[in-house]
């Protein structure tokens, strides 16, 4: 079945130090990394960023092929960015004459710069989602956003909604897979026919799926209330997030990275 190939998010479990880091720190460090990438104004300044990412990937023990796979959905945008910049930017030093267009040195450099920036951004954020389970991610986000409660930002409710949604995506996929199989057993065909036929074929899947989703939502609300859930007020947590040595080391290394990028810019 097609649905069994969908994995949620892209979490890749290993027991590396990167995986064990505090999700709050990881989120903040990703922001710092993004800042560093935008601060890097020359190709030279990308060197420390690339080295930093390579080190992090090595430490996380996520296979390189998974990292490359994460670039796939954006490959078109990256290639387009490169081509548009190469062909349409102005410059002074001609490099190659292709007949229909002349590629300038400045344009080529900028094109490489912009596409490299995109690649690094994607790799950095993928590393976060590959090494952090979605639930830990929402947990970290909630903690980071909780100071915004003073301006009545519903950080807890948002995080709870996100966790519940994340928690139920696999369940719903499983359910969808089961219903799809049950209807296939009754001769339904989800794979052939034109667009209209296919849209129609979704009805026997979607109706039961919605029915079950509503039933589950009702059950869950009941179960939460039965266990005295009343919002975030005064709620303690099971997994208390704690910064450890590795988190401080990672912060120090990231600070070094920013310094290196700024230095490279001054050269």
């Amino acid at each position: 079945m097609a649905l069994s190939n969908i994995t949620l998010g892209q979490y890749y479990p290993t027991d590396s130090a990167v995986h064990k880091m505090d999700p709050r720190v990881k989120i903040l460090l990703l922001i710092a990394l993004i800042v560093a990438i935008f601060l890097a104004q020359s190709l030279l300044a990308f060197l420390p960023v690339a080295a930093y990412l390579l080190l992090a990937i090595r430490l996380s023990r996520v296979p390189v092929r998974m990292m490359i796979k994460s670039l796939k959905p954006l490959r078109l945008i990256i290639i387009l960015t490169f081509l548009l910049n190469v062909f349409f930017l102005q410059g002074e030093t001609p490099l190659v004459d292709l007949g229909f267009a002349v590629i300038k040195k400045e344009a080529l450099l900028t094109a490489v710069h912009y596409s490299l920036r995109l690649v690094l951004l994607v790799l950095g954020s993928s590393l976060l989602t590959l090494t952090t389970p979605p639930i830990a991610l929402t947990d970290g986000l909630e903690r980071l956003l909780s100071p915004l409660r003073v301006i009545r930002f519903p950080a807890h409710e948002m995080a709870m909604m996100m966790s519940i949604a994340l928690r139920f995506i696999p369940t719903l996929l499983e359910e969808a897979d089961k219903i799809m199989k049950a209807q296939t057993a009754r001769g339904a065909d989800f794979e052939s026919g034109n667009l209209i036929a296919r849209a129609k074929a979704m009805v026997p899947l979607l109706v039961p799926l919605f029915v079950s989703a509503f039933r589950r939502a009702g059950d869950l609300a009941m179960a939460m209330e039965a266990r005295c859930y009343h919002g975030g007020e005064g709620r303690t947590r099971l997994r208390v997030l704690k910064c450890e040595k590795r988190d401080y080391i990672a912060c120090a290394v990231t600070a070094l990275l920013i310094a290196a990028v700024v230095l490279a810019g001054l050269l």
Binding site: M1, T7, A182, A188, V211
Partner: protein, 289 residues
């Protein structure tokens, strides 16, 4: 008509870090006319096995043969397997979707491309078979029925395709005692009328009552196979797999422990009744067997 699984292995999400082998190297045959019970602990691969019998799942390794022909070979008409082998999933009432009972039951026959007249006839026949009054039920919404009725409608949806083999995944799970008994009698009735039945069940009492043969699954492989008598004579082995024996077997074991003369091959309610009656009348139950 018979279905044979030939060295079937199934791996879910093969090639991903989450891959899991659900059944490995399973070979078995569903014989024409039998009532085969599939038993095993949760997660032992019963449902996965059942979904191979009508070609819903494709074996990662091995073949599934319908009367000797490989159903996953190119050119084999999948609809033919789906029609001949009906599969009733666990909690089949969760697959209902149409506005009316009649329309829902008609879904299968419609997919087979039958004529309107034929479909109508089959819907009536299927509803009657599951013990629902076609005239009263046809126009109702399946979502306003009771749990037991919904399950019957879902089952009628499969029966309307007139399968020769009926595979049922825990058909009695979650029903109240009366609906449960009705459901089992319904299945037994279908078997008596010539349908080959494969039933996954956790109730050893039901297996003892109805099955002509049983296959015990453990950790994705077939651990035991034989008539219920044969299977239930290995009480210890079953216990090791986290399984039970029929309550009548347990009664016999306890009586034998107290040296009450009680035959070993007693595992159904009617047998227990006879034995106890004889004991009460003062006859030797062993001698009378």
């Amino acid at each position: 008509m018979q279905v044979t699984l030939d060295h079937v292995t199934h791996t879910y999400q093969a090639g991903s870090p989450f891959q899991s082998v659900a059944i490995k190297d399973v070979s078995m045959t569903v014989r024409e006319g039998e009532f085969l019970a599939l038993i095993g602990h949760t997660g032992s691969g019963k449902s996965t096995l059942a979904q191979h019998i009508n070609g819903l799942l494709k074996p990662t390794e091995g073949r599934v043969l319908l009367d000797g022909k490989d159903i996953h070979e190119k050119g084999f008409n999948k609809k033919e397997v789906r029609q001949k082998v009906g599969l009733v999933f666990q909690y089949p009432e969760h697959q209902l979707f149409e506005e009316t009972v009649a329309k829902d039951v008609a879904f299968g026959p419609k997919n087979l491309g039958l004529s309107d007249g034929e479909i109508k006839e089959r819907v009536r026949e299927a509803l009657a078979k599951v013990g629902l009054d076609p005239a009263a039920m046809e126009g109702r919404s399946p979502f306003e029925l009771s749990g037991g009725q919904m399950r019957r409608v879902a089952m009628a949806g499969v029966l309307a395709m007139r399968p020769q083999i009926l595979v049922l995944d825990e058909p009695a799970a979650g029903l109240d005692p009366q609906s449960r008994e009705d459901m089992l009698q319904l299945i037994f009735g279908l078997h008596s009328q010539g349908t080959t039945v494969v039933m996954i069940s956790h109730s050893m009492d039901d297996v003892a009552r109805f099955a002509t043969r049983a296959v015990v699954m453990a950790e994705g492989a077939i651990a035991m196979e034989g008539t219920p008598e044969e299977i239930f004579s290995h009480a210890e082995a079953l216990e090791k797999m986290g399984l039970d024996v029929p309550s009548v077997c347990k009664l016999g074991m306890r009586l034998r422990e107290l040296h009450v003369p009680c035959p070993e091959e007693m595992f159904r309610e009617d047998q227990a009744f006879e034995t106890l009656l004889k004991l009460w009348k003062g006859e030797d139950a062993h001698g009378a067997q």
